[in-house]
């Protein structure tokens, strides 16, 4: 589930916590707490500093939280949100990669450029998964694009992460299991940022690959920049 984040003070966020304390959780940092309360489609977020800020008396709020709520939140267990446990905790980042698209060589009609980016430890959250909510691509010079060029985005398993290779008679190292293709046969647009919207957050485990396929009919190589929008 995707929540709409609303930042509120402690005095407000505490009114959203259920009497059974089953709709909130928090993260403790050295200098602050971040408190999350899920309520319908909203995620109420409160940041409580552990030290005084100029012009703000946070001590009463801090004491209230630490004495009455700290150690009690169990949002994830109750709502069965373990698979996406960092959705309401998200802190957005854009992860960019730059690919080099190669043109067809003499005698070839077109060249299919496949770019695989592994979902690595750097990208996944504490549940071992990453959420892809969208992205964008950019080709600086539109003149390098042939009107027949096509781009596709998909998610593939190359290393039997899901354990289905034997199930389908596949071999690690050569074969590929394509889980989903969320952009299919799109004509390529250049000179501007083009949004990639998968339509639904994709929750993907460590070890899968984000695959870009660029079918190139042009005559020159060029840089193809892709950014994925993901929460930490």
């Amino acid at each position: 589930m995707i929540y709409k984040d609303i930042y509120v003070p402690w005095s407000v966020v505490k009114t959203k916590i259920s009497s059974t304390l089953d709709n909130f959780t928090y993260i403790e940092y050295p200098d602050k707490y971040e408190i999350y309360v899920a309520d319908k489609i909203f995620c109420f977020i409160c940041v409580l500093p552990k030290t005084e800020l100029p012009g703000a008396n946070v001590q009463p709020d801090l004491e209230d939280f630490e004495q009455n709520y700290k150690g009690k939140g169990n949002l994830f267990e109750i709502y069965g949100m373990k698979d996406a446990s960092y959705s309401p905790l998200r802190e957005w980042q854009s992860v960019g990669v730059v690919y080099e698209v190669q043109p067809p060589e003499p005698g070839e009609t077109f060249k299919q450029n496949i770019f695989d980016t592994r979902i690595s430890e750097d990208l996944v959250g504490r549940d071992g998964c990453v959420e892809i909510v969208g992205g964008q691509y950019y080709i600086k010079d539109p003149s390098v694009i042939d009107e027949r060029d096509i781009v596709e985005f998909s998610v593939v398993d190359k290393d039997n992460v899901l354990g289905l290779f034997q199930y389908y008679g596949l071999t690690v190292g050569t074969d590929v299991l394509e889980l989903a293709k969320f952009v299919r046969t799109h004509s390529v647009i250049g000179g501007t940022l083009v949004k990639i919207e998968p339509g639904q957050t994709k929750i993907l485990p460590l070890g899968l690959y984000l695959r870009v396929s660029y079918i190139c009919y042009g005559t020159t190589s060029f840089k193809f920049k892709v950014d994925y929008f993901i929460p930490r």
């Binding site: 698979d83 770019f115 199930y167 008679g169 050569t174 394509e178 889980l179 989903a180």
Partner: protein, 60 residues
């Protein structure tokens, strides 16, 4: 517009800038009987379930 759904013989595939030594099979999981019409989140959940159960799949 020419939209190839199959790579022709006159076409080379490069993966991350390299020509692969061998091109293997590709199974489109979302087109298989077991996973047809599921979104990727449900595909992964069902894959885990199938992994637990074992068995063989249907490739289309």
């Amino acid at each position: 517009m020419n939209k190839p759904d199959k790579v022709e013989k006159t076409t080379q595939i490069v993966i991350n800038g390299q020509i692969p030594e061998k091109l293997g099979k590709k199974v489109k999981l979302y087109k298989t009987e077991e996973f047809k019409e599921l979104n990727v989140n449900d595909i992964i959940a069902k894959a885990k379930e199938l992994q637990r159960q074992g068995g063989s799949g249907t490739v289309r």
